[in-house]
Structure formats: C-alpha cells, structure tokens
C-alpha cells in the first residue's frame, strides 16, 4: 500500500489483458522477464495514461502488445520508433478510447517519450473473454522473451554512460 519507488532507466511494459486469449501475450512476456537485472518490468492494460506514467523518467522502453492479425497468427513485428512509425494495420488501438498507439502519440506530443522505444507487436487471432492463448501466439511469446532478453543487454537500450562510452551504431537488433 505504498506508491511505487522511482523508475528504472530501462522499462519493459507488457500491455494487454491476460483474460482475453492472445491479448495476454504482453503480460505473459513481462512475467517471463521479471528477473532481468537492472530492468523494471511491469504489466499494464491498454490504458494510455498508465503507460505514459510508467515510461516517465525512463530513458528506454520496450513495449509488448498483441496486434491484429495481418498474415499469420504469432508473427512478430519489431518496431523501433526511432526509425519507424507504428503500422496502422497492426491495430494497436484499444477497445477503449486510448490504446498503445495513442499512448505513444500523446507521450511524444508531450515530450515524455523515452529516448528509445521498441515495440514488439505479435499478431493474434483470438481475443475472446476467457479464451486461452492460441498455440501460435504462445510459441511467439517464448521467442519474444528471448529477443528482449538479448536486446536489453545491448548498449543501445541501456541508459547512456558518459558520451565517450557510447558504442556508435549500437541500436539493438
């Protein structure tokens, strides 16, 4: 019953609802990454404001969310917001008024977006209340866990040391 302590410079946010089938991939991946050293790992529903607040003070953020199916359930999209925009066809908007896409847009407009933001979006196919996660998305979750575990060890996502310590061109994958 206390307010959370100050933020870690690197945060991993699993976005989604574990009770709605493939929408649970964000929380599932976050749960698997809980023990990553030096990383704050949280789960959030798709409330934009909570996501913005969680990012507050962080230098880098990795966000995991389910996406609408485009081609194959379980297909993993890695979007580096330093280089790319969120593709509209992934449907990363919430069923409510503000979703991940809106959270990122609002945080950017308010100059509150962390220096680096990587979004892992996994195409899902079943979002029914109470449904279990599909095998394809569950398998993708394991792969995303491995990708993020490797990625957060790279200098590009770690808080910047003095400028001379920075490895030019190291931006993750």
């Amino acid at each position: 019953m206390t307010i959370p302590p100050n933020r870690c410079p690197l945060i991993v946010i699993g976005v989604g609802n574990p009770d709605r089938g493939d929408d649970g991939i964000g929380p599932l991946v976050a749960a698997r990454l809980k023990t990553l050293p030096g990383v704050r790992v949280v789960t959030r529903n798709s409330d934009a404001f909570a996501i913005i607040e969680e990012c507050c003070g962080a230098e880098a953020a990795v966000l995991i969310d389910a996406a609408a199916v485009i081609s194959n359930p379980g297909r993993i999209h890695r979007i580096d917001l330093a280089a790319d925009e969120l593709p509209c066809e992934l449907g990363l908007a919430s069923t409510h008024a503000f979703g991940l896409a809106e959270a990122i847009a609002l945080a950017r407009a308010l100059n509150r977006l962390p220096r680096r933001v990587i979004v892992y979006a996994v195409e899902g196919v079943c979002f029914d209340p109470g449904a279990v996660m599909t095998a394809e998305v569950a398998a993708a979750a394991e792969e995303v866990v491995s990708l993020i575990a490797a990625e957060v060890l790279l200098p590009g996502l770690r808080p910047e040391k003095p400028p001379q310590a920075r490895r030019p061109g190291a931006v993750g994958q």
Partner: protein
Amino acid sequence: MPNTSLTEPRVTDRKTIRVDMIARVEGEGALDLHIQDGKVVQANLSIFEPPRLFEALLRGRDYTEAPDITARICGICPIAYQMGAVHAMEDALGLKVDGPLRALRRLAYCGEWIESHALHLVMLHAPDFLGYPDAIQMARDHAHMLNAGLALKKAGNEIMRVLGGREIHPVNVRVGGFYRVPTRADLQPLAAMLGPARERAIELLRWTSTFPFPDFERDYELVALRHPDEYPFNEGRIVSTRGIDLRVADYQTMFEERHAAHSTALQSVIKGRGSYLVGPLARYGVNFDRLPDYIRSLAKDAGLGPVCRNPFKSILVRAVELVYACDEALRLISNYEVPDSPAIAGTPRAAVGYGCTEAPRGICYHRYEIDADGTILTARIVPPTSQNQLSVEEDLREVATRNIDLPESELRARCEQTIRNYDPCISCSTHFLRLTIHRE
C-alpha cells in the same frame, strides 16, 4: 433569367450526414438525427451495445459477491457501482457504516471523481472547445494543461490503488467496510500528491473558464443526492429542482425505466414529467450551498452562478468538482484514524435493500432483494447514462435546430460536443457512438 420560384415543383430539402464513429466517448452507440425541411424532427440516441445482463448475473449469487461483480460494470467508475451495492446490502442487513470506514469510502469516491473528471475534462472534452480533433493534437499547444490533467488522473488512480487494491475494478471493498484498511502512513504519499494536484485542478478551472461557450441553456429538472451538510458522494436524499425530495428507497415511486426500440439500454423518466438531468450540473445546482465558501468563490470567478443550465459548461463544473474532490481527499486523509476493524459484521436476513450514490456522471441507483441466507433474488441497477439519455436527445434536437444552417462538418462537430457534454458511459448503460444526420 429563368423563373423558378413559382413554377418548379418544390424540392424537399433532404440530406444525410453520416459519422461512423464518434470518438472520445466510452462505449458503443449511435445517434440518428432526422432533419426534414430545415427542421429537426427526430433525435435518437441508439445504444446498440448488447445488454450485459448484470442484474441477471447477480441473481443467485451471495450478497457478499455484489461489490466485486458490480465493480465489473465499469472501468471508469467501479467505485460508484461497488458503493451502490454495498450501501444497498447494508440497508438490507440493517448495518450502519460510520466513522473512519465511512471516511475511507468518501476518500475512494474522491479518487474516482478525480481520475474520471480529469480524463474527461482534458482528454475528451477540452479539444471540442479549442478546435482540435483530439487531445494528441491539442497537446502540442497545451502541454502544460495536458500534463496537469495527467497528474490529476494519476493522483486519483493512486487513491484507488491504495484503497481498492488496484486502480481498475478494485477488489478491497466489501459489505460492511473493506478487506484491509490503510495505515495513516499509507495515506501520506497520497496527501503529498494531492496538494500539487489541487493547484493543478484550480489551473484547469481557470483555463476552462476562458473557453468559448455556446449561448445555450435548457430548463432541466436537476436531480441529485442531497445530504444535510456534505457535497454528496454516497449518502443523501434524492432531490430535484422541481420538488422531488425522496428517500432512496422511494426512488421507484417517482422514476421509471422504459424501453425504446432504438436502444438496448433502458431510458429513465420522471413519471408523468419525462426527462431529467443527473451528473455534475445537477449535483452542483442542487448542492451549491454544500460547497465550501472558497470553492463557491472559485466557481464565481470562473463565471458560474449557483445553478448552471448550460450543458456545455459542464466542463467548468467538473473542474470545480475536481478542486472539491482534491480538497475533500486532503481533509479526509488529515483527519483519518485507523478503524478498530476493517469491516463491521452483518447477518443476512430476508429483506430488500436500497442504495444510491453519486457516480461521476450522476446518481446510480441499486435495489436488491435477498433471502434469509443472503442469496440475491432480484437486482435492479439504474446507471446515470440511462437516466440522461432523454436529456441528451432533447439537447441534440435543440442544438441541431439552432445550428441547422451550419455547414455539415460544423453541425456534426457541435452535435458530437453536445453528446460529450455528458461524458456518456455507454458501456455502463448496457461502446462506439455513430452519428447519422438525415436531412429530408
């Protein structure tokens, strides 16, 4: 020059404007506006979201389950539903919850009002007045106010988390009190957030008072809870500006729900009179004298009198209530003493219980019949958006009539703004709101 005025057959002015989805409302519904020969002939707020049948879900469940089930009705105002349910169950059991437990309930209510009002004011409603399509576009020019709103929402959420166990669908509320109560130390970080949050609420009130408001008023019958000495959250009589003054248990003697073919939500009316208004404008109008002097003074400085009948100025009243909720939360925290027990015990009996509380959007009425072992036999829940549906339709008819010569896009925008005046929670009343304007 052709002579057309007398010889050509009269062409009926017929037009259809369609908006597939109105953004910035909670839930799914539609508005059909029919305009014929320059006159608005029909305005239907159609709620087509499938009924969720919570009242049926509650039947056969134990009375102790009602707070957790009803909390699932809404992600924005779960406290209102929980509190309505616990008050009704306590009424049935003959329990009276007072002292620090009652104070904690008021504090939870402060949290819900703060997070709900801050969200609506800054993110959903303010863009309408400043000509932005959404809060994201508005943020580029008004970042300070957006950040103020977000800080307030965060403070409200923290209250909810500390008292409710989590921010959405709290799990710590029970019939008779709470499962766990905070220590004084638990509440101190909240006070540290609420002090600055209060100042930001005053900034938001001053900011919104500079907005351009349409010159529009309607003679609503304002209906709200009224308490002998408090601005109402969870206790009081049901009072209106036209003489209604009822015990909560007598609600159904004056109010009834009816089915409209175009809506999956029931619509409430005052028997023999029709529409009425609940929510911030009603609460404020019925209870202006219950606000502390300095908040009345802030309201006056913002251009508000003791009663406001301009629905577009509901944004001002929400800002006033934001200030009040911050102040009241600070007062409650300052005076808080840990209760001897987190809840008082009750014994079920065959009875009917009634509850009514002031959700951010207005009064929310509950009635439950339970049997001797506490099983719920019947349940009735009347959410605020159901009660405001007719007023929304009447506002739309009037607004559209007055603005009928506006270009289509402007008329559409004004109609959407009219709906957002109500911060409608369509999910509660039964998600997207579609607006269709038919001109014939």
